[in-house]
């Protein structure tokens, strides 16, 4: 039988699509219980009852999928609590249905395009976080543009970049450029400064939103936030 730690690890692979952070570190997982028979019950919470339904659905559905992939898991229940479309989302997720199942007639398609859009934003933002310290340490634009995938630092940011590249169908081969546009085109040395100016804005936007989300979650559920004072 899978133990709770494995389930939490699996939930740690689920990202808030908008903020590109794991739902576990965002503290969106309220509880996670594993019965002796291997039934799993996960409760999720969000910073406000009005968080966007499409992103809320993705997190609930992704959480269910991630836990179901574990061996020796039986029934998996994922419940999003305290959300204004919770009934619709929980119903569809519980039945294993897609987004349109939660909101019949209110969607044109599924959420793949939305997810891809935010993967692109996340890749831009994360790359800027790797690129900036290199330039600050004295690397030239030419040197940064010449870096290949194996030159990326061995940290969570870079690992997530590679995951995002895989989601977006961008090569992660050893010969591929370390820094790319969301369509996979390598960033040329001449464009680096301008690209970084924009990429930094995308990162600031994600960080500021994440900051507000964390503050609101802390207030809503009265939980301390150790990072707040430092931000």
């Amino acid at each position: 039988v899978t133990d709770r730690a494995h389930v939490l690890d699996a939930l740690g692979t689920v990202h808030d699509p908008e903020l590109d952070e794991p739902i576990t570190s965002l503290r969106f997982v309220t509880s996670c219980d594993v019965s002796a028979d291997g039934d799993v019950d996960v409760r999720l919470r969000l910073p406000t009852p009005q968080c966007a339904p499409n992103f809320a659905f993705l997190m609930a559905a992704d959480a269910r999928d991630a836990v179901r992939r574990l061996p020796e898991v039986r029934e998996v229940t994922v419940v999003l609590e305290g959300h204004y479309t919770g009934d619709e989302i929980n119903g569809a997720v519980g039945r294993g249905e897609a987004f349109a199942g939660a909101f019949p007639g209110e969607t044109e398609g599924e959420l793949d395009a939305l997810r891809e859009l935010f993967h692109r934003k996340a890749l831009v933002a994360r790359q800027s976080g790797i690129c900036e310290p290199l330039l600050a340490a004295g690397a030239t634009a030419e040197e940064v543009a010449a870096l290949r995938v194996p030159d990326l630092p061995d940290d969570a940011n870079a690992r997530r970049c590679l995951e995002l590249r895989e989601h977006l169908g961008i090569s992660t081969d050893a010969g591929a450029a370390a820094f790319v546009l969301p369509d996979g085109t390598p960033i040329a040395a001449a464009d680096l400064t301008h690209w970084l100016r924009m990429a930094r804005l995308v990162r600031t936007s994600l960080e500021a939103n994440g900051g507000i989300c964390r503050s609101l979650l802390r207030i809503r559920y009265d939980i301390p936030d150790p990072e707040e004072a430092a931000a």
């Binding site: 009005q50 969607t107 301008h194 900051g211």
Partner: protein, 350 residues
Amino acid sequence: MYEKDGEKYFVMDSHIHFWDASPENWVKGQENYAKGWIECFHAYQSLGPPETHWTIEKFMKYSEEDFVKDVFEEGHVDIGVFESTYLKEWYTEGFNTTERNARMAEKHPGKLITNGRWDPRDGDAGLAQLEQDAATYGLKGVKLYTAEWKNGSRGWRLDSPEAEPFLEKCEELGITNIHVHKGPTIWPLDKDAFDPVDIDIAATSHPKLNFIVEHVGLPRIEDFCFMATQEPNVYAGLSVVVGGLMFARPRFFAKVMGELLFWVGEDKMLFGSDYGIWEPKWQVEGLVDWNYPDDTFSDFPAVTTASKKKILGLNAAKLYGVDVPEEYRLPDEAGTPAAREDAELVEGAA
């Protein structure tokens, strides 16, 4: 007005409310939404300094005395702009309607501007109502909330064919200031409801109208900035940026302000307190005292006394045709212009 270190600031608060979200005003059967909405707002208030927090009871319905004290007497505000918000699906008499706001404005001549609203889903009746409201209240602006629910519909877009006659009517009636607030729901639900592209399209086709994007497009600051840098008639409404970040997340606040000064520029940024979510006093005083925290911000545009005078009031005064007394004005060409990136670069980026 606010005076500090010999400098006089004319304060125009471009985003204030006088709402009634008390249980007596909740629509039967919609209590959960009415309660959830105001509780969510109340949580935002907690992002400000602790001594400015209110009880939920006061927050649901504050008095006229509270309003006068918080905004005019202690809040340094010379002129406030009411951003009327209806939400009649949830609040019987509306959340803060033009009518309710105008009643307050009448009692404080010259100190309050009441903005109206329209909703393209109201069709011809809505157009007629807009004409009537323009005549009754002398509207110079409207506040649009695109995520408002109506008869089963969860929102609308500014570039829809239904919205076009309303924008044309605004031009005709001289309602030049279009404040837009994006919210979490819009049809179809599989799209990003916060994407400001519809504002971009409307701003391009209506160059005589000013589009003030409330809360700088949060949570899509980047999309907003890339748009505002290309559209001369798109402005940044700073409510929530100041109230939600300046105290709670000062480093993020500095970054966001730096980006706005770079992409949008100090001539197109408007202070807004979002009162009653946050009192204007600490926001006005904090903004006047504010600067970047350290030299890691050195490649952002400098912020000067002139920048702050523009942001706190002079920019909004220009949009609303307010005659600012001589002693508060700036000599022409004061301050730092925005360092605009070219549009082509933006197009290619994301």
